[in-house]
Symmetry: C2
Subunit: 117 residues, 2 copies
DNA sequence: TTGACATTTCCACAATTATAGAAATATTCT
DNA sequence: AGAATATTTCTATAATTGTGGAAATGTCAA
């Protein structure tokens, strides 16, 4: 992953409405939600939401597909994984004993070498 | 973790110089590097770097301490872990079978319930 | 083909932020 | 005390971004 791509993704998450949308969809799972459902949950006008969904999708954090009149959005789990792997790449030079348990139970920074995808 | 705190952290990472600094320090491990070393690695003026280090530290992503004339900076692993846990909280409603393996080998989103710290 | 529905694109304004030089602060050595 | 070193604070300018109404687009039912 390129630095530029990662910055785009973090910028996408660094905004109240978008972070709310992303977390809502993480919790919703792979089936996702329609744009309308998301707007109702988050409480923003459709035009504003659409703008933010576009930013999240272009950043590789969401994917979308149409079903009849509605557009579904869901977390792009692989894109998200790549982002976090990039962030923690080569954590502690691969030496588990340096990290302690702080990250090891959440991110595979030490137990296994991180592969940049 | 509050949403506001997480936004501050993602905004901190959403910038070329700061993302470079953070990743450099992730790889440097708990011993950290001095501000001067970081400036040399990244190639920015001291005043610019200082500004960015302050933003990363206030966001809970770095910690710092003085040793004689120099100030060391290192990753705040616990702060980082809290941020990623917040992002992936209640992933897939806690149902491993929904996630596939995309995140499970990086983030404990499905294998164990994520605790918001 | 007309109308209703779901979402996106366009637009303009307000607010936030990156940058780096100069000066200030803090620490150490002689 | 005075000079040298390491870093931060101050300041101003340039550039980027969030917002939501109105209009446009795409989809479907009658």
């Amino acid at each position: 992953m390129e630095q530029k791509t990662a910055i785009e993704a973090f910028a996408a998450l660094a905004q109240e409405t978008r972070l709310g949308v992303f977390r809502l969809l993480v919790q919703a799972g792979p089936d996702g939600l329609t744009a309308g459902d998301i707007a109702a949950h988050i409480g923003v006008p459709a035009s504003t939401l659409s703008h933010h969904l576009g930013i999240l999708e272009r950043a590789g954090l969401l994917r979308s597909w149409r079903v009849q009149r509605q557009i579904y959005y869901a977390t792009d789990y692989e894109g998200t994984r790549r982002l976090l792997a990039f962030l923690m790449e080569d954590c502690c030079r691969g030496l588990p004993e340096l990290c302690g348990t702080a990250l090891s139970d959440l991110v595979a920074c030490c137990p296994k070498p991180t592969v940049d995808a």
